[in-house]
């Protein structure tokens, strides 16, 4: 080492300086070098430490953000899954529970139906209601027909039946007689009307007679008596109108006209005196 150091000094310096001074210089230089190296090393250490610190903090940050993202993603995923689980649970709870409730209610209802059917059969209920209704109907019939215990014996029953037969026969006879009476009344009315019409129109001319018979032949005698004169007058008026129309037609269609010339008489029209108009004229002037 010493040889290396000695070689490092120039030859003139070795000639001038003694070995001791050279050694002292070398020692001093070595110490300085060591100090410089230590200082450099320390600086380097500090620099590297700072850099490492920065690197570690950067890595930490990066890892933290990544971990945060991972945690968030896991959270979201888990939350979604939990929501699904909750929804499914709720559906199961509400849907299935309500279905179960309906089924249970229906089962109980059916069981009760069966039990009642077994205890009180429908046939028995129907028989009971029919008995009750029949009793009521019978009671009402007895009331309507006035049947009491005395009328329920056989002999009275025959008498009642006989009476009913007689009543039916008499009713039929009355109906028949009523019909005959109606027919007779109709025939009488017709004859009477014809007779009245014949009497009243015996003194009349052919056309008027025909007209009156045509109008009044199907009417009742009372109606004919009340309206005969009016109908005759009506015919007379119509006849008169017809004749006047024929006369007019003949007059217009004639070939020789004997009308005298008409004198034209011109009259001077006098203006009526109106003071209001006079005043208006004066104001215009």
């Amino acid at each position: 080492m010493k040889k290396e150091k000695a070689n490092s000094l120039p030859e003139q310096a070795e000639q001038v300086m003694t070995e001791e001074s050279v050694e002292a210089i070398e020692t001093a230089i070595e110490e300085k070098i060591q100090l410089s190296v230590e200082a450099a090393l320390t600086n380097q250490d500090e620099l590297y430490a700072d850099k490492l610190q920065e690197l570690v903090s950067a890595i930490d940050k990066d890892h933290t953000s990544k971990l945060n993202r991972v945690v968030e993603a896991v959270d979201v995923n888990n939350a979604n899954k939990l929501i699904k689980v909750v929804k499914k649970y709720e559906n199961e709870l509400t849907g299935s529970a309500s279905q179960f409730k309906t089924t249970l209610v229906e089962s109980i209802s059916n069981y009760l139906e069966e039990y009642i059917e077994e205890s009180v059969p429908t046939e028995a209920i129907e028989e009971a209601t029919q008995n009750s209704t029949a009793r009521e109907v019978l009671f009402n019939l007895r009331k309507v027909l006035a049947v009491d215990s005395s009328l329920m014996s056989e002999s009275v029953k025959e008498a009642v039946v006989d009476g009913k037969t007689q009543i039916d026969e008499l009713t039929a006879k009355v109906n028949k007689v009523e019909k005959e009476n109606t027919l007779l009344k109709e025939a009488y009315n017709k004859q009477s009307a014809t007779l009245i019409l014949e009497n009243k129109t015996s003194a009349m001319t052919g056309k008027k007679k025909e007209y009156l018979i045509k109008i009044l032949c199907d009417k009742s005698p009372k109606f004919i008596k009340e309206n005969f004169d009016y109908t005759a007058k009506l015919f007379d008026r119509k006849e008169k109108e017809r004749i006047s129309v024929i006369k007019e037609e003949a007059y217009t269609k004639r070939k020789v006209k004997t009308d005298a010339p008409v004198q034209k008489i011109s009259e001077k029209k006098k203006d009526p005196h109106n003071p209001y108009l006079d005043e208006l004229r004066r104001s215009h002037k």
Binding site: S109, L112, E113, I116, I125, T129, V137
Partner: protein, 48 residues
């Protein structure tokens, strides 16, 4: 029918709550309704 179901539901509720008095009341009412319905059905049938 809706009224009957409601009564049966009430009956179940009261049985679950061990309130047997109320449960008995509703069950009795349901049975009465059923029998009344049967009787009215039988009454509507013509006698002849």
């Amino acid at each position: 029918m809706g009224k009957e179901k409601l009564k049966i539901t009430k009956f179940i509720e009261h049985v679950s709550d061990k309130n047997y008095a109320k449960a008995h009341k509703y069950l009795k009412s349901v049975i009465e309704d059923k029998i009344t319905k049967k009787i009215s059905n039988a009454t509507e049938k013509p006698l002849f």
